[in-house]
């Protein structure tokens, strides 16, 4: 840990000793090494030394003084009564050592400790434990090991294989032969793009005589646009991506642009370090693009609670906790979550360190609002280029504003700060409630604009107009900072309020209007804009000069037709509290952070910088109107608070957001690599730290994840836990080598997938024998190829692809394929599942609408998760409920019906050809003779059955998919549907072999 030590007080106070111990029994001067350390060693070290820091405290280092998780000061030199060490050993607080851990300290031992503290608690540096560095394997930087030699040298294809072969030999195993081409092509398609090959694609590969046919296939697949869809699936579990907010109401959330960003990022092979930085802190890059903003939605996938009476701060902090935990899981492979409440003996992270990480993520603008603010309206198509050009301009203008330096500005700031410190903040102007009257209807829009209705002539709140139909009304509901709707064609509406100022001075007003707007202050026109538009916040900003006392503000909104609208807020009225506090400190006692905060705030009001601010505002307005005009879905994004609005972070005692412990600053755990020196200590810096070359975990965790996807089991089996409780790697040197190569290859994920796919290890046949099963049931030593059940999305995608129903459409809003009625029964929500029509019925599984409280049931049966929190690894079960899905779910019945029609249409004319066609569409390889015969037998039985039962035949062939083409025999189709249903349910179909 990097905590600064408290200064030691040299003053030795001699206080009265406890009556039971006489002063004579105690040494005059307590010597730490001679007298105190033996006590600590005997009674405390078991739980509080070396790698074990129960409660976040270690008694073998002087940093113990500042205490652990409880937030109490353990040793206050000179003041035993203020030191929780004494309270604990006396049992006044929680007794230490605890009853079942050891004998309580004797009175004389306690007296010794007290005297030691009274005398200043000296602890020589030489008597501190020297940290021997991290010992756990995953915290040591990976090393590039030389390739081991192996007897199977001829088997080796790339640098993966020698490690695997050497390990096999050690276990008395040998590699399996390479799988046949049918198996390989199916394996590669499923692993790389997640959908099976078509018959043509199969034949092309199987018959490709070129020596590099395999590599060509791998490359072709890596170039497929479906590659991104397959791997996005893995990432979306980690990102806890869902289409709803979670918790009780579980309202919908629009965030699919993020899902699409992930797909795109995989497809263009965005290097994993950039992939990380953009998702963690894309908004903080020097010139963020729209896409980079969207990437930050990664951490906006946290849940939002809109249940009645919830405390926004409670659930904001729950979201930050989730972000810390997810970051730990995704990049570090560590469960940091437990440290939220307490330090655990063996964990590499203490409670204090947990909140130091939390501090990095505690500075974003979002705070559990039902509307998910801040959101980015993100249009699609060409306009993005125009928008990004404006974003560049904004970034430049912001930098100009932030970096402007001049003696004049510095002097002005000093003068302002001095005045602020002396006089305190002047009370902000007081705005009365809006008085409202309207609509005054005219013949035309033009007339409405030009007519000077009575309020423009005189404000008399008691007057009525239009035979008493129009009167002034107080409208407290027209709150500031919100767009309010108005209605009436060719109508004028008037808003009036007073502004009470205690001192004269400038005030910025911001408006939005639908359509035209005109503003008077104290009878003078200060703004006039004839325009047709929809109302948005902050469309126009003006600066006005207030006089002391009452000022009168009148606003006229003129609506053409349809909906009208109005928005208002006054800017910069009230000073943030911390700004005042900083101003009141003497300049030399301000910390760097405080100086920055003060300067940052002053730049928002400095008269000298008004031209720069106006330019910025102008560009921002253009951006806003461009976005408003071009529409497009919104995406919740991360946005860092301004310097002067930063939150303080405290340890939360026992994890409760209400119980604040000591304040902490952003920092990274001492057991990990140091924070890089050349990056800022904020969320962006944290992102750089995650992908720092010295990080022992990120690359390992990530390569292990890809390995797990392709082999069904990671080199570290507990891919969710690289900590001390996890399982060590089966091939540690291989893991290290892959991790280093991953970084050396520019963090290219495609290269990593290719590297694994090209290995001889991966190409092995997955056939096994009882002897091999006995020896290595889990295939830890990789003496055979991978064989395991497909994941939920692949089960769906494959059935649709085999039957020819699958839509290849990419991106966009999530879709709702058929689901049984009554599955969505959500408390306090009338939201309904609206089954998609057309090709949206048949989209890939990753586009299925994901409601957290009620996920798509057939996917859950195949172990998809509810995505409420980050899931590193799905379990893989084999249950009757999953069998019922592929047997009976109308989605799969429909697929069988569609496949039946394909068979009749394209499967050839004789029965054997047709069976082979159907079989290969599901299993890729041709059937063996026995298989063929068995399916033929089934077909014939079913054909005979349905001949006898034409009504049932019709249902079987058409009930989900609909009317069959007239030229097809429904009885025949019914029999083929049964065959297709059987094929879609075979173990081999559901398994990647």
């Amino acid at each position: 840990m990097s905590h600064a030590l408290r200064p030691l007080f040299a003053l030795a106070l001699i206080a009265a000793l406890p009556a039971s111990v006489t002063a004579a029994e105690l040494p005059e001067h307590v010597d730490f090494v001679r007298d105190v350390q033996p006590i600590l060693e005997a009674s405390c070290y078991d739980c509080h030394a070396g790698g074990t820091a129960e409660g976040g405290i270690r008694w073998d280092r002087k940093s113990a003084f500042i205490g652990g998780d409880s937030g109490e000061v353990a040793v206050e030199p000179g003041q035993p009564e203020e030191s929780s060490l004494i309270a604990r050993v006396r049992g006044e607080d929680e007794l230490m050592p605890p009853e079942d851990e050891g004998e309580p300290l004797s009175e004389s031992q306690i007296a010794l400790l007290e005297r030691w503290i009274e005398q200043g608690a000296e602890w020589p540096d030489t008597a501190q434990a020297v940290d021997e560095g991290p010992r756990h394997w995953s915290l040591i930087k990976p090393e590039k090991h030389a390739l081991p030699t192996t007897a199977h040298q001829d088997w080796v294809r790339n640098s993966i294989d020698p490690f695997v072969a050497a390990r096999m030999e050690a276990e008395g195993l040998k590699p399996s032969p390479e799988a046949d081409r049918y198996t390989l092509v199916r394996r590669l398609y499923l692993d790389i793009i997640g959908i099976p090959p078509t018959l043509d694609q199969v034949d092309r590969f199987v018959n490709d005589p070129r020596p590099d046919a395999y590599e060509r296939l791998v490359d072709r697949l890596l170039d497929s646009r479906h590659y991104g869809e397959r791997w996005a699936r893995m990432w979306l579990d980690l990102a806890r991506y869902a289409d709803t907010q979670g918790y009780e109401k579980d309202n919908r959330r629009t965030i699919h642009r993020y899902r699409d960003w992930v797909i795109g990022a995989f497809n263009r092979d965005l290097p994993f370090d950039r992939f990380t930085i953009e998702q963690m802190a894309g908004d903080m890059l020097p010139v963020p693009t729209t896409e980079q903003y969207i990437a930050t939605a990664f951490h906006r996938n946290t849940m939002t609670n809109t249940e009645g009476g919830t405390d926004d701060e409670e659930f904001r902090s729950a979201a930050v906790v989730d972000r810390v935990n997810t970051t730990g899981q995704v990049w570090l492979g560590l469960t940091v979550g437990c440290a939220q409440c307490h330090s655990h003996k063996y964990d590499p992270i203490t409670q204090r360190e947990y909140y130091e990480l939390y501090a990095f993520l505690n500075q974003t603008a979002d705070n559990d609002q039902p509307n998910e603010a801040p959101v980015l309206s993100s249009p699609l198509g060409e306009v993005i280029g125009e928008i990004d050009a404006l974003l560049v301009k904004i970034a430049r203008q912001k930098r100009a504003l932030a970096e402007y330096r001049s003696a004049e500005l510095a002097a002005a700031q000093t003068a302002w700060a001095t005045q602020l410190a002396e006089q305190g903040p002047s009370p902000p102007p007081k705005l009365s409630t809006w008085q409202f009257i309207g609509p005054f209807v005219a013949e035309s829009y033009g007339a409405a604009l030009s007519t000077s209705f009575p309020p423009e002539q005189e404000i008399d709140l008691t007057q009525t107009y239009d035979d008493g139909q129009l009167r002034w009304e107080a409208k407290p509901e027209y709150v500031d900072n919100k767009v309010h709707e108005l209605s009436g064609d060719y109508s004028s509406f008037y808003f009036y309020r007073t502004i009470e100022a205690s001192v004269p001075g400038p005030l910025d007003l911001s408006f939005g209007s639908d359509d035209s707007i005109k503003v008077w202050l104290n009878g003078r026109v200060v703004h006039d804009k004839q325009i047709g538009r929809s109302a948005f916040p902050d469309q126009d900003r003006i600066s006005v000069q207030l006089r002391q006392g009452e000022n009168q503000l009148l606003v006229k909104i003129v609506n053409a037709t349809g909906k009208g609208g109005f928005f208002f807020r006054a800017l910069g009225g009230e000073l943030p509290k911390n700004v005042v506090e900083i101003a009141q400190k003497s300049p030399e006692s301000r910390t760097t952070d405080e100086q920055d905060a003060l300067a940052a705030y002053y730049r928002t009001i400095a008269p000298l910088l008004k031209p720069l601010r106006d330019q910025l505002f102008e560009t921002e307005s253009r951006l806003q109107s461009l976005r408003a005009k071009s529409g497009g879905p919104t995406t919740p994004i991360m946005l860092e608070l301004e310097d002067f609005k930063r939150r303080e972070t405290h340890v939360m005692v026992r994890g409760s957001f209400l119980t604040k412990g000591p304040r902490v600053e952003p920092g990274v755990p001492a057991s990990l690599h140091p924070f890089p020196e050349d990056v800022p200590r904020n969320r962006l810096g944290l992102a750089y730290w995650l992908v720092d070359k010295n990080n022992p975990l990120t690359a390992r965790v990530m390569v292990n994840r890809f390995w797990e996807q392709m082999f069904g089991r990671g080199l570290v089996a507990t891919s969710e836990d690289f900590g001390t409780q996890g399982v060590p790697p089966t091939h540690p040197e291989l893991l290290d080598r892959l991790a280093i190569e991953f970084m050396e290859q520019g963090w290219s994920m495609k290269k990593l997938v290719k590297h694994i796919a090209m290995s001889a290890t991966y190409r092995q046949s997955s056939h096994t024998t009882p002897a091999l099963m006995e020896k290595d049931p889990e295939n830890r030593w990789l003496a055979r190829g991978p064989r395991f059940r497909l994941e939920a999305e692949m089960v769906r995608d494959q059935a649709l692809a085999s039957s020819g129903l699958l839509s290849r459409k990419m991106f966009g809003k999530s879709v709702m394929p058929p689901q049984p009625p009554g599955v969505w029964q959500v408390v306090y929500s009338g939201d309904k599942w609206e089954t998609s029509v057309g090709e949206d019925r048949y989209r890939r599984g990753l586009y299925t609408f994901w409601r957290r409280t009620s996920p798509y049931p057939s996917m859950i049966a195949f172990d998809a998760t509810s995505r409420e929190i980050c899931t590193v690894k799905r379990t893989r079960t084999n249950t009757p409920l999953a069998a019922l899905v592929t047997l009976n779910d109308p989605v799969y019945v429909e697929a069988a019906q569609a496949l039946a029609r394909r068979v009749v249409e394209d499967g050839g004319s004789n029965l054997e050809d047709r069976v082979t066609f159907a079989f290969r569409r599901c299993l890729v390889r041709p059937p063996r003779a026995a298989e063929l015969n068995r399916i033929v037998a089934l077909y014939e039985t079913e054909l005979a059955h349905y001949r006898q039962h034409p009504e049932e035949a019709k249902q079987m062939a058409t009930d989900v998919l609909g009317e069959a083409p007239a030229e097809m025999d429904v009885v025949e189709l019914a029999a083929w549907t049964v065959v297709a249903n059987v094929l879609l349910n075979l173990d081999e179909t559901l398994t990647k072999g």
Binding site: G246, E248, D721, Q725, Q825, T875, R876, N878
Partner: protein, 486 residues
């Protein structure tokens, strides 16, 4: 089954127990079995994950029926008689209670609300029950009423998660999952953990309250639906009868066996078994879900009606389930969130309505189980997710009487399964604000239930993400309340 298959099956069984089949969960299961419960190797019962497994110590209850009144009923109107509250009706709630308090909806300084309902002694035990519970009064001597429950959550979703998963955060296994994971189930043709929902709404926390978290999904609650298909996708496609399904399953089995012979992966054998189980479930689930075969007298006792989904039907179904050997039956009934914002959420109309819908079927369930000799081995638990305030909520000056969410005290009851009958446990202060005597936190309830089922709540864990994950949470604070055990 040929010799090769037999051999494979032997491997499969060990394979499952040593961590292959179901990934992490099975690893956990293997350590569970190999560690604390080494004696628990399933033998004759078959290799399935739901095979019955012996408990740690002799169990007092074999099965659980958990009756959850979702939204949370007001204890003051049902079990916790507070004459003082009535005396102080409409007076300001004393300040000392309100300091630092947060409420879901109450704003300003709330007034106390005495119960509008009368209480009386029932049975030989003289248990005090509200006039809203006349039928439960008849079985008072079987009830173990706990008045000192409390929780630390006051929103529905987190409180329900707390109750069922031991923590208010998402992602942990639910109580029913833990129990079926630990004990398996007696009937392999039915799910081991069944969920029945009435009131047209799933609970606030969604399906997570019967989710399996990091345990294999085979342990998650299976929602049996009382309209439409009883279990999703249990019905064959239209145009395929049972004989047709048998024929197609025979083909699947034959083809899978060819595959097994070729590739030799025992997982294929497991799949064959799961498909056969699915086939049996296609009959056994609709059968157990069909209450039309019950006698007129039984329907009269429960107030059930086969043509109309209801809580009463679900109580009858719960009996049929435990009779058939289902380990854990979880009922949720929506409609108890009596805030008093209108007639459908108040104490005068809504609460009596909910009581009428539920208390007779519950009394019937207890009586029925007793008559069949099943009450001793079936633990019935009744509760909400938190309590309700001793104060009138009066949201927006509502004229309807209602109470807000309240974590500091709640009442619940248990019956059968080894708990004391006709017994009142714990108490609250005069106003019923805080639980005072024998305070029982939700984790204590979980510990006590596990204990009754023969599981050691402290030892019963799964290693996951570097922690010993337990239903009762990470600390040693939860305690078994032995005093309410008979």
């Amino acid at each position: 089954m040929n010799v090769f298959q037999k051999q494979l099956q032997g491997i499969t069984r060990r394979h499952f127990l040593h961590g292959g089949t179901a990934g992490l969960g099975a690893i956990a299961l293997s350590s569970l079995l190999a560690g604390e419960r080494a004696q628990a190797t399933p033998t004759e019962a078959g290799p399935g994950p739901l095979s019955p497994r012996p408990s740690h110590h002799p169990a007092r209850a074999k099965n659980v029926i958990y009756l959850h009144m979702a939204g949370s009923p007001p204890q003051q109107e049902l079990f916790d008689f507070k004459p003082k509250l009535r005396e102080l009706n409409d007076q300001d709630c004393p300040d000392e209670f309100l300091e630092g308090e947060r409420f879901a909806f109450i704003k300003g300084h709330p007034q106390l609300l005495g119960s509008p309902y009368e209480f009386a002694h029932h049975g030989q035990s003289g248990l005090m029950l509200s006039e809203l519970l006349p039928n439960l009064g008849e079985v008072a001597d079987d009830l173990c009423v706990i008045k000192s429950m409390w929780t630390d959550q006051f929103n529905h979703a987190p409180a329900q998660l707390m109750l069922y998963t031991g923590t208010s955060q998402f992602g942990k296994p639910s109580m029913g999952s833990w129990v079926t994971y630990g004990l398996g189930s007696e009937n392999q043709d039915l799910p081991g953990f069944v969920v029945l929902v009435s009131g047209d709404k799933v609970p606030s926390a969604g399906k997570s309250v019967w989710g399996s978290g990091f345990l294999p999904s085979v342990f998650q609650g299976v929602q049996c639906r009382t309209s439409g298909e009883p279990v999703l996708y249990v019905t064959n496609p239209k145009g395929m009868d049972r004989a047709g399904r048998r024929r197609s399953l025979d083909a699947i089995r034959d083809l899978n066996e060819m595959q097994l012979a070729e590739v030799g992966d025992p997982e294929t054998l497991t799949r064959i078994e799961q498909y056969e189980l699915a086939y049996r479930m296609q009959v056994s689930v609709p059968e157990v879900m069909d209450i039309s075969s019950e006698s007129v007298a039984t329907h009269a006792m429960y107030g059930s009606d086969p043509s109309q989904p209801s809580f009463a039907n679900n109580c009858l179904l719960a009996r049929r389930m435990v009779e058939s050997g289902v380990r854990f039956v979880q009922l949720f009934d929506w409609g108890w969130d009596v805030h008093g914002t209108g007639k459908t959420t108040d104490l005068i109309s809504q609460l009596p309505k909910k009581c009428r819908q539920t208390e007779r079927p519950i009394a019937a369930l207890i009586t029925d189980l007793k008559q069949r000799g099943l009450l001793d081995e079936t633990l019935i638990v009744w509760s909400g997710e938190f309590g309700r305030t001793p104060m009138n909520e009066k949201r927006d000056n509502s004229k309807f009487l209602g109470r807000d969410h309240h974590p500091h005290s709640m009442s619940m009851f248990m019956a059968g399964g080894g708990v004391k009958g006709g017994f009142s446990y714990g108490a609250t202060d005069e106003l019923g604000y805080f639980a005072t005597e024998n305070r029982m936190f939700v984790n204590d309830l979980q510990a006590t239930i596990l204990h009754l089922l023969g599981l050691d709540p402290y030892e019963f864990h799964v290693p996951y993400q570097g922690l010993k994950q337990r239903l009762i949470g990470p600390t040693e604070d939860p305690k078994i309340h032995h005093d309410l055990i008979a």
